[in-house]
Symmetry: C2
Subunit: 159 residues, 2 copies
């Protein structure tokens, strides 16, 4: 991965347009709070990428307490999931660029939300308070090669 | 849905704690840019909700041009998907609260991103520019009951 990573960086240095992407997601409402999403091809450097033959399908719903039937995670849970994936890819790519081989990595992302403002009632800011403890083990060539990361900001290496 | 919606609002008015949620997502790194996510139970009003027997599983990966193998959508695509689901649930709930029965609704969400800053190169702000055309058809009891919405801000009704 390290070599490919540097190759991508070199390609972008030669032509900044290589860094430009347009991603897409579509959503079709089914009933109640249930929606089905699809993610297909994307545009890279002005051209539609041809590597995906099939679209990814995602189900979303609310739990009963939010008027749904648990047919899938809700939007804020997907947002937390996206955040966890984003941390993970960033972490592993940066580790690869430094020659560190990650052997195990887990993220738990938690977010507190108060739904009053969404429902038109007086309440706190309609946003998240997030926490993200990370458990990562990396083969650093050093005896106790564990890395830990705080709430998404920076990397602290515990060795 | 309209009746349940008002019941929830009344319950929150009686006890603001009913509006408080903690959602969670976990992510386990597999190899390269591939991660598997799980979304399980959440906390509502200080108690763990018991309605979900199984956890939702999500696969995430990057496309080859971003050093992956297309085993799933990437984090920014999931973010767009979450945004589409969020719009849809908000739209349908607000319509229900106004007595409008939505019969069909679709969101296409697109986001432009330049990955230079993520890779440590000089580039524009590492954020999205999003567009979200919406196609919604609602049974408003009026002959031509189409509603359209601009890029996520407010609702324009075309009748």
């Amino acid at each position: 991965m390290s070599t490919s990573c540097w190759r991508t960086i070199d390609a972008i240095k030669d032509d900044p347009n290589v860094a430009s992407f347009t991603f897409r997601a579509s959503s079709r409402w089914q009933e109640g709070t249930r929606n089905v999403g699809e993610i297909g091809r994307f545009v890279h450097a002005g051209q539609e990428d041809q590597t995906r033959d099939e679209r990814f399908r995602l189900d979303s719903d609310e739990p009963p307490v939010l008027l749904g039937n648990n047919r899938g995670p809700n939007a804020v849970e997907l947002l937390l999931q996206a955040l966890g994936f984003c941390y993970a890819v960033g972490y592993v790519a940066n580790a690869a660029a430094r020659g560190i081989q990650v052997t195990r990595m887990e993220y738990d992302v938690e977010g507190d939300v108060d739904v009053r403002t969404f429902l038109g009632l007086t309440g706190p800011r309609a946003g998240f308070t997030c926490r993200s403890p990370t458990r990562a083990t990396a083969d650093t060539g050093i005896a106790d090669g564990r890395h830990t990361e705080g709430a998404g900001s920076g990397v602290r290496a515990r060795r």
